[in-house]
Each structure stands twice: as structure tokens, then as C-alpha cells.
Point group: C2
Chain length 215, copies 2
Amino acid sequence: MTIHSLEGSSLMAASRTADVSTRSGTDKREAIIRAAIKVFARKGYFSSKVSDIAGQAKIADGTVYLYFKSKEEILHSIFNRMMESFISEGKREIEGIEKADDKLRRIAELHLERLGADRDLAIVFQVQLRGSIKFMREFSAAGFAEYLDIIRRTISEGQKQGLFRKDLNPVVCSKILFGALDEMVTNWILSKKKFELAPAAGEVLDVFFNGVARA
Amino acid sequence: MTIHSLEGSSLMAASRTADVSTRSGTDKREAIIRAAIKVFARKGYFSSKVSDIAGQAKIADGTVYLYFKSKEEILHSIFNRMMESFISEGKREIEGIEKADDKLRRIAELHLERLGADRDLAIVFQVQLRGSIKFMREFSAAGFAEYLDIIRRTISEGQKQGLFRKDLNPVVCSKILFGALDEMVTNWILSKKKFELAPAAGEVLDVFFNGVARA
DNA sequence: CTCAAGTGAATGAATGGTCATTCATTTTGT
DNA sequence: ACAAAATGAATGACCATTCATTCACTTGAG
């Protein structure tokens, strides 16, 4: 009857039943997610009505429930899907890179490029996901912790390569770098002026690598 | 009739009518705020019922409305009051300090000491205030922007004193420092382990001043 | 000193509005 | 004609806010 793929993993290649089409199902799920990102970004999760999402997706209210168990599941799908692609893309991009500092540069660029490319998605990530400890814990469990860990391992690697100071705790350093990038995104979202987010990566890394103190 | 001091400014010395007592009014407002911090921290703003707050404060539901116009006004009071004391304390603490790097150190320590001393309050700040763009904008307007600006000016000062590199944009640097501190707080809140938050200030500043790159 | 009237703070049950979710019915596609 | 998909009106919870009533004091007349 309903679909409710417990997690709409990724872009999904195979259709449910056999081989023909039933493409529409996946398309509609997509449409709902896109609509939800837009609505959540504008009104916030708690103030968004399911009927707003349905309206934005141009379907009936009830149809939403053919694809998602609940309003909350929509939010989960958004961030699970996003983190998954975020992380896999990140890993793929850095695996060919040798030097740890170049890896971190690529990670930072990706981070800002990705969120800078879709303001609504960025808002959902920066704002809605953090609006409840519950979401944050779930988010942290599912993906975010892994993301931080990739940064941490890269920093450790840089220490072994003799590029980074060995007296620093890589866990703390990874939080610092992440926190700095995250703040850039938050400021960008709140700012009225339309500036490019991605270029901030270079400035952040300059400070992170070299510090602000006069040489 | 009702009280609704449009903003319960600070600790309020004078009592309403004449000279005797009527202390109870202010005390109750206080009690409601303390109760709300606890309740918001545990359940999140949107999931907190006014009756939960009243229950925690051991008063009737209706009494809340003798002291606050609405549930939202309670949240506003919490952060207006907090930012006000945060900023004034910060200014006072650094005004006697000469060197910009020492000033930043004191700011960072205060930031983490303050939030580290009251987990519930920290949760309301880190989590609930950011759960809606609306709150964030209001928050940003009322105090947060000023806080960031204090950091920015201190960095500019450090550049003039020849302590910090002059090729860096102080606005960006202030965001980096704030973002790094903020991330420490968020991690501390989410962490199950009870560790001290304040000591992280030193590590953050070490990286901020000197960078992670090997000298 | 005593107590009846007055005052406004406090109470908590009732109200009203808002949605998430359901499901009987209709539409679409084969 | 049948099944699957879609519809949207109806349902039922839930909660912020209100307000008629109670309660705890104070006051001042006798």
C-alpha cells in the first residue's frame, strides 16, 4: 500500500516492483522533499504545516502520508540523505589527495560550496536541525559525528606527515575548524547581502593553519 | 493590573509601590524565568507547554500571564537579560586590559565559563535560540551582533598594536573565533561525559593565535 | 483588639483555534 | 473493469490564552 522506504537511501536506481517504470513514486517523494526544504526554510519546522508542504508540492495533504509516515520523517529524510551524499562525496574527493593540508582545504571548500549553492537547504541544516536537542542528537549520531571524525583523522595524518604541530589535540582542532566553517555558513544565511560563501574557505584555512599572531 | 514590565531589565532594585515590600512580584518573575530555562532546555521551546513551566515554577497556569504577555515573551526575556549581562560583564572585564591578545583570552574564558556554569542556560542559548530564523534574527539584532563586534574591534586593536597579522580581515577573524568557541559549547552540551568546558578556551586560542601548521 | 469590606494576586477550568493524521471516495492508468 | 494512487473533508488531540471565581491580605471603623 504505502511506500515508506524506511530510509529513502539515495537517488534510488531500481524501482520497487519489477523493471518497467513506477518512476512516479520516486518522483513524488522527491517533490515532497524539495517542497519541504523550501517550506521548512521559510517558516521553520514547527510552524510549517503539512498542508503547506503539500501545497508547495502541488499534491493533496493526504498524499504526503503515502510517502512519509509523519512530518518528522520528512525532516529526517532530508538530513539523512544530505549527510550521506555529503560524506560520500567528501571521502571520494579527498582520497586521491596526498597532503593533509590539501585535504582539509578540499573539505572546507566542499563544505561551503555545497551549502552555499542552496540557501534553503543551508537554512534547514543550520537552523532547523539545531532547534531541538532531540534532532541534534539524532543528527549527531547519524552522520555528523562521522564528518567531524573525517576532519579529525585528516589532522592526525597531517601531524604524522610533519605538517601540523604535534602538541595539539586533533579532536579539539577538528571542532575548531568545523565551528569556524559553520559560523561562516550561519552568518551567510542571516546576512541580507548576497555574497559568495565559498571564498571564505581560504580565509578560514589561512587562520587555521597559520594563526592570527604576527609571524 | 498586570505587570508586564516591557523589559524586565535587570535585577530591579525598587519595588513597585512605595518602600515596604511587595518583593514577591519580582521574585515570581524570576521563578518563572528559571523554570522556563529548565523546561525549555529539556523539551525545547516548541514542545514545552506553558503548563509545564507553571508546574515547574509551582504556580497556576494563569499566573504566568500576569508576568508575561506570552510564551514567546518568556524566551525573549531569557536572552535579552542574558546578553545584557554577558556584554556588560565582558566590557567591564576587558577595559582594564592593555594587550589585545590578553583581552581576547579573557573574552574566551568568560564565554566558556559563563555557559559552562549553567548547562540548562547553555542549552537554551545554543539550541533553542537557533531553532528559528526569526529568533536568530531577533537575537542577532539584540546583542549578539554587538558581541561579535567587540571581538572584531579587539582584533583590529591587536593589529594596530602589531600583535596580529595585518593582512587578515578582522570581521572574518571574529567569526572564526566565535564559531570555534561556539562549537566547543555545542559539543559540551551534547556530550554525555561531564567534562569542564572552560579549559577549552586555552586550546582554542592557541590555535587561533598560532595556527596548527608546524612552526 | 475585632471584624467587615475592599483589593488585587492567584487559580485552574473552560474556550477556541490550530493542525497532524485518517479514510471513504474519486481518479488514473492498464 | 480492476487496482493502485490520489484526494481532501472530517476527526481528534493538543495547548495557548482567558476570565469568573477564590484566596490572602490590609485597612480602618467601632
